[in-house]
Amino acid sequence: MFQHDRLSNDITLFQKIKKLDYILLTSIILLSVLSVFVMYSTDGGEILFHTKNHFVKLAVFFPLMIFIAFLNIKFWHNFSYIIYFIVILLLIYVSFFGIMSSGSQRWMNLYLFVLQPSELMKVAIIMCLAKYFHRIKIENVNSFTSITIVLSIIIIPIIFVIAQPDLGTSILIALSGLIILWLGGMKIKYFIYSFITFLISLPFIISFLKPYQKLRILTFLDPDRDPLGAGYQIIQSKIAIGSGGLNGKGFLKGTQSYLDFLPEKHTDFIFTLFSEEFGFIGSVGLLILYSIIIFRIVRIGAISRSNFARLFCFGYAFAIFIYIVVNLSMVLGLLPIVGSPLPIMSYGGSSMLATMIGFGIVLSAKINHKQMIA
């Protein structure tokens, strides 16, 4: 065992570069380049604020991802709990001293850029739970103590995020956490029971929702009830996507977006613009690109020797998947509108930072896939 440790610690930088997953890396680069072009389109075919900033963020976070990849997976294992607690502290900080914007308090000012800790929590919770399930014996997974601990790990950050308020991110955090619980071997019946309990308590949950959140659900059920108000976004989004057709209207020719009919086109509705300009073929192509990324992450998890790396990769792959599904379902009118960005494509520093950190850890797992963690 010791020998294994030494071996993996000793690999040179050159070997590390050689062992990077190039299919995954190429897909990420492709996605990044695509995202810059789409951002350029949202700026109306000019290099303006959003295009510049998005490019700068990519230029900073992509090397960060490589740097993270070169750190041993053991390092990330060792620091998982600490990272989780730091993010919790940031969430607490934000809930007191955060920047208010459009009715919610989610951001902290780091002078160079504005950080949204809840985005980091999306990755931190996977790390934290992956470590917990890595360390715990399979026999103890369903014990009362361990269930209490893992549920606390999930619920504590969610409380802070919901309080911001940010329903979308808290749902994504919860789903990312729950998937590790599932992968970790928690009994299936617990999932079934809690799902039933959730369904039963749904009316009560809804009664606790803020008026604007209730409105979003009502709007989802019938977007035409207020076409110029709450239903406007989803109607315009569907028009944009639907009018794209098979081939799309062409790059920089999306009338819905450049005539300002699309709201939030830089962030949550970026796919709408993409789909309008590149059509069904482009959209499916983008989905395939995302699928390749997810598949590569899953594969890295599958070849990983340590359960930490395996759980993290599987969990992270699922998280990426769920971000895409929630975002696309939202813009396609399959789910109510909850704020959730499309990984890499959407404009937003924190989301990109968290995604890149995640990819970095996955790449690190690839480089160190033979690494055993005690």
């Binding site: 026999e139 992968l183 970790g184 071997g185 996507i241 098979l246 005539l259 009919f261 789909s275």
Partner: protein, 640 residues
Amino acid sequence: MIKSNSGIRKTDVINRRMFIIGAAKVVVFIGIIARLFSLQINENKKYLTLSDKNRIREWKLPPTRGNIVDYFGNIIAGNLKVYQLHIIPEQVENFNYLLVRLKNLLNLNDKKIAKINKSKSELKPWDSIIVSENLSWSQFVKINNYLYDLVGVKPVMTISRHYPFNDVYTHVLGYVSQPNEQEILDNQTIQERFVPGMKIGKLGLEKRLENHLIGTNAIQRYEVNAYGKRINQLEHQKGQQGSKIRLTVDTEIQKACGELLNEKAGSISVMDIYTGDIIAMYSSPSYDPNLFLFGISQDEWQLIRNNPLKPLINKTISGLYSPGSTIKPIVALSALENNIINTKFKVKCTGKMELYGQTFHCWKEKGHGWVSLKNAMKQSCDTYFYEVARLLGVDRLNITAEKFGLGKKVLGDYFDTEKKGLFPNTKWKKNNLGKGWVLGETLITGIGQGYIQSTPLQLCMMTAQIANGGFAVKPKIIVDSNPISYEDAKQSMESGLLFDTESEKLLDKKLFKNQENIKIVQEAMFASTNERFGTSYKSRIDDPKYQFAGKTGTAQVKRISKRERELDLELEQIPYKDRDHALYVAYGPYINPRYALSIIVEHGGSGSKAAAPIAKKLFKLIIDRHDLRNKQSNFERITV
């Protein structure tokens, strides 16, 4: 070892559960792709339409009205380029400064400035405010000179209705102006084509022929953004000008009518006795319809409204007058047709006639002595016609009069202001006044007084139908798609053939039992104008080319008291309102007649002094223009 066992078992669990998740992922992605397929492929058309609906906005421009031309093709209602001034608030740097500048340049008043400010607050910043609808050329030039200093100001050229002959055709054409809400709602076509700034016919033929004249909108398609701002123009679809409409009127004659009635209240109508074409119909005084195009000022409106000569009334078809002695040809004809009298029948006129203790006066106090039909008509002897009416009875007279068009609308539904007039009979009085007919009333009906009321155009038509030998004509003011020429109309009428393309039978056209009777009346009317002692002898023309036959009329507007009769006041001594209306009906030339006319001068005094001389002046012109008109009859045929 246990640990590693447990580790392996754990790995198995993770892998197994990952497999389930992986399968679920594939299903979900397929679901999303299916949704994309349904939106982008299946429902693509629907969403493309919606997207176009979002981005494309149509702007309708006001349609261009069709021209109205006279018989000779002269435009009497056309369109003119007008210069307008628009402000686009979005482009203005300093709105108040701009207003001050414009105020000085165009002499705008404070009311106008307040109006501009009001529309500025109501409109979107990129919508233009119309500051002035009709700039004069000099104002337009001024604005263009100072344009560098007037940022956000846009001089615009557009098209507006124009009446080149000003007040000459007002009562025929009416005028156009901004429609009110009710007018838009009432007319489907206007509703479809309405755009702010559009004008519709408010009166006369402009109103009646609205749907023909209106034209179609030009359409400009713009791409707009989500806030409705125009981004760029996609296409411009030209509108079609409304139909051109050709009238039967002759502008030269119409103008002459206006000059002859200058500063008088009254009306002149001229009609082709064969085709029924209305050559002129002028109501005096008139007013300039161009005043209404850009909103008439209160002062100008009050001036027109309060004019005691009532320019707003179209006297030709809406003015009701007692026909006075102009009815006598019909009374004579009716009596002849009913064999009550013949040419040898004579009555002794002593200047008055007693009936049941009531005295009926002839206009000539000394009386005319023994008079036959010809002399009675010539000198307009009232006593003769009292006696004839008495023998004839009002009901038989009524039948003849209605045959000749009295008591009925002449132009049907072309003018909604046209009046029917009234020719009474015993039944009418019983039904409407609830009293029995009195013989005395028959007497005064015989000289065109009493209940009887007629419009000038009715009298004109009546005369035309006597002139053409007693055949019904169908008066018209719009040239048909297949206009019948004067010669054809005349020939078919004289040969007794059916000439009207509509299914009316020839029998219906004949208004007489014996055409000889018509001739007798014609001769009597000839005598009245062309023989010594005739009432309009002074207005005769001896040249057979222009010679005409006519009948004067003097309609009392109030009962003459005994004292007034004794005073025998001069016209100037009687208050205007109490003066008699002067009437004259005539047709000419006497040999081969072509045209009939009726003239009414309100409160003009006697027909022979005030109305007949007008006919003399007019006839020369009418006959002189006949050849021109004949040549023109095959000129382009325009449908309505």
